[in-house]
Amino acid sequence: MSSPTWDEFAELALKRITASGAEYGDIRIQDSSTEHIEGEDRRIAAIRDIKDVGFGVRVLYHGAWGFAASSVLSLEDVPRVANLAIEIARGSASVALEKVRLVPEPVHRDRVITPYRIDPFTIPLEKKTDLLLNTMETLHRQSGIARSSASLWARRDRKLFVSTEGSRVEFDLLAGQGDCTATALHEGRFASRSFNTPHLRKGYELIEEADLLREASRVAAQAIEKVKAPAVDAGQYDLVLDPEHLSLTIHESCGHPSELDRALGYEANYAGTSFLTPEKLGNFRYGSPCVNLVADNTEPETMAATGYDDDGVSCQQWDIVRNGVFVGYCTNREVASKIGESRSRGSNRADGWSSVPMVRIANIGLEPGSATVDELIADVKHGIYIEGHGSYSIDQRRYNFQFGGDAFWLIEHGRRTHMLRDVIYHGITPEFWNSCDGVADRTARDRYGFITCGKGQPGQSGWMTHAASPARFRQIHVIRGEGSA
């Protein structure tokens, strides 16, 4: 006897949910393959080939949620897990004060496939390990490099979403990334410099186009320059931030506060709440007029562009900040009505079959302006150009933040001069974005994705992409990232 199809499993679960009297239910069956190759100090330290298959059943019963999941995908376990989800939802309903009401969404029957040119899982492993070993050798060719690392990551998610409302969406999604890091030692001091391809929904062409070997030479040379660079003097500086750096700034200071579930208190015990409370919608000056932050889960190759979210809502584009004013949230079908919206923004995602979906940051990007990068720098007398990610921390309402970076150059009289080290800047989110007086044009736009955005209890990792062109911020408070600051 052949094993049941995913559709047959889904039908088995949904029949139980419907028969229970629940108003809504869905099932996600997922088969994920991950290949992660990690190099460290001229050796391949780990190669992991992970197969992760399972399913999760979500039930809304009398306005309360229940969710159960299992890695045992069988004719015995699917109905048992569905029953458990129903029972848990009944338990939740017994103590519910305010009933969950889902905003409507059209029924979708669709198939979503990540377009790619080269399937990363078909590339011979030797080719990938050779690339990483050669990358690390290149890093070590530079005198003074004490440590190196390089890695490749690829993931394929095959998923079926079926709901009691009749939606049925099949997914075959791909994502990848590669990176390398050099750590330089000089007079007992050490400093690292990295190159990261963005996490994107592309095939192995992402790695081939990145040219890790060429980047490794630059990274190693800059690691040496960084470790020998003078430490920054604390003070007020104009900052010009590159797209990779801005991706983290946007993520922490705009992305998280624009999650409506946070603003409503759902994350109060862990990730925190948000200073962007609902009464600010449409009237709060978040940034200067040149700040336009747009959520776009439809842009090809980006991490949150999955066609549909885990509510079965189609991906959309909308404004979060328009001309500096806060105008939009990331929402799901549960919370959208709480700010009077009649449709979800389609930002409800789980990090796998075993997790319940929750509101996640969309692909929020900073819209390009009209200046060139050279023009942004030319108008800076005393400033710092910052590339990449470094230290980062932000308070539980997303006001007070502090960021470092991966590489820093002093700008003097409109010219990028030498590298600096130990640069840390801090500020208050709306004050910082109101100090933005220039964003570079579309030719300098770049995209960086995240796969480790932590939220929820139990914790989940969110995936999204933040695009930006370099931007300039005036008179930001910079301190030295060491104890003497």
Binding site: A69, L84, V95, L97, T129, Y266, S355, G481
Partner: protein, 446 residues
């Protein structure tokens, strides 16, 4: 509600793991083979705004197969425990290993040994299901409702079958259970917090911790803003644990050897106040000790910092062999103690304080400078000004910019060690500490 869990799903038993691992070991063509089991069943009842917002239960079983041919190694894993899927995992691992470069740091599995048997699986925790979790959540919510406060938090339980088996006869199997409770109480801008993690769900002390969080929130209603700067502080155990977690995570021996550790060159030297001692206490009933590690090494009691002197590093097996370290110490159950007479309670610590900032907890602690372990982070859920032995006001939350290596050089006073856990660190036993100097670099809006 009729589902009591605890009986289904049934976790992989020791006998079943031996059967599954034999399926791999007898078919493997590799020089060495290791099979690892992690069969995890967990449930969480999550609440916010005084009602349940999420109620989940998930079981994930995973088998990982690692094989090696003369130093070429590969690992493949599966969540499907059918014979065909397990054999496929073995085949994938072998395929990887055959084309992998030789790893100069590869070591065969450790020799078989008898792992210590620890009380890692308390029946009351293993039996706890959604009903018990909901009962505890309701208890916390009920207390908050009576005060007209908002409760947000979780009650979570888990049970995990963990196993390791290798071609040289190494075999270990253990069931680990734990229960967790955390609660944030909100009233306007003020918040209070408390949390617990324990092998036994009966030790979560939900009522006591709920009342403590409510008391914090009440005291937080009248708030003043203090300027950033250096202050004497009293750090409650969760805040101490938050900082010490980064000390523990920075003890990597390989980084030490390569000169990229904040402790480089400091082994055998004083790194913190001479009265501080850090031990691993895997048999302590209030810690989450385990019988063996992911590498198949026995977890043992060990001394890490002795009267302020760094005695031990966190070793991978290769670096340990190179440095002649045997046995390799583990650090899953850290306990920090202080020589000398402790204060009886945090209240007593405060009574003897002329002026200080009392910190309940830190949040989003991240490294600023790995060279000197300067960290940054925010105070959270209860930050107060103490004057003349009493809390005189709540203060707006600070960002700190400080290295624990500097901060813990001098202690003013302390309590006996207490259970400590927060959302970003594992569980520890640490005292509340009064420190003469702690640098707050900026202030936030609340």
């Amino acid at each position: 509600m009729t589902v009591l869990s605890g009986t289904w799903p049934k976790l992989t038993s020791a006998e079943e793991f031996r059967f599954l691992s034999d399926l791999v070991l007898t078919r493997s063509s590799a020089d060495q083979t290791i099979v690892r089991l992690r069969d995890h069943h967990a449930g969480t009842t999550r609440f916010a705004n005084n009602q349940v917002i999420q109620n989940v239960d998930a079981r994930r079983g995973s088998l990982a197969v690692t094989v090696a041919f003369g130093g070429q190694q590969g690992t493949a894993s599966t969540t499907d425990f059918t014979a065909g899927a397990i054999q496929d995992a073995l085949a994938r691992a072998e395929r990887i290993a055959r084309v992998s470069p030789v790893d100069p740091e590869y070591l065969p599995p450790p020799d078989p040994c008898l792992f210590p048997e620890r009380a890692t699986a308390k029946p009351e925790t293993l039996a706890a299901g959604p009903v018990k979790r909901l009962e505890y959540a309701n208890e916390a919510i009920g207390h908050c409702r009576m005060e007209n406060f908002m409760a947000a938090g979780v009650v979570a339980t888990s049970r995990t079958a963990v196993g390791i088996a290798a071609s040289n006869g190494l075999f270990g199997y253990e069931v680990r259970g734990d229960a967790r409770f955390s609660l944030t109480v909100q009233t306007g801008d003020a918040t209070g917090w408390s949390a617990a993690a324990h092998r036994s769900i009966d030790h979560l002390k939900v009522q006591e911790r709920t009342l403590a969080a409510i008391a914090k929130a009440k005291r937080g209603r009248d708030v003043c803003e203090m300027p950033a700067g250096q202050y004497p502080v009293i750090l409650e155990p969760a805040a101490v644990a938050g900082l010490w977690a980064w000390v523990l995570w920075s003890l990597d021996a390989k980084s030490y050897t390569k000169g990229t550790s904040p402790f480089a060159g400091k082994l055998g030297q004083a790194i913190v106040d001479e009265r501080l001692t850090l031990k691993n206490h895997p048999d302590h009933a209030d810690l989450l000790g385990e019988g063996f590690t992911h590498d198949g090494l026995p977890s043992t009691a060990s001394l890490w910092i002795d009267h302020g002197i760094l005695k031990q590093l966190v070793y991978d097996r290769f670096t340990a062999k190179a440095d002649g370290i045997n046995p390799i110490p583990t650090l899953e159950a850290p306990a920090l103690s202080i020589a000398g007479a402790p204060a009886q309670s945090i209240q007593d610590l405060m009574k003897n304080t002329d002026r200080a900032i009392l910190v309940t907890n830190f949040w989003y602690i991240r490294p600023v400078n790995p060279q000197d372990l300067t960290l940054t982070g925010m105070t959270r859920d209860g930050t107060f000004l103490i004057e003349k032995g009493e809390i005189v006001s709540a203060v707006k939350n600070f960002r700190f910019h400080e290295s624990p290596i500097r901060a813990f050089r001098h202690l003013t006073a302390w309590t006996t060690p207490m259970e400590a856990v927060n959302s970003e660190t594992g569980k520890m036993l640490v005292p509340a500490l009064a420190l003469p100097h702690f640098r707050f670099s900026s202030v936030t809006r609340f």
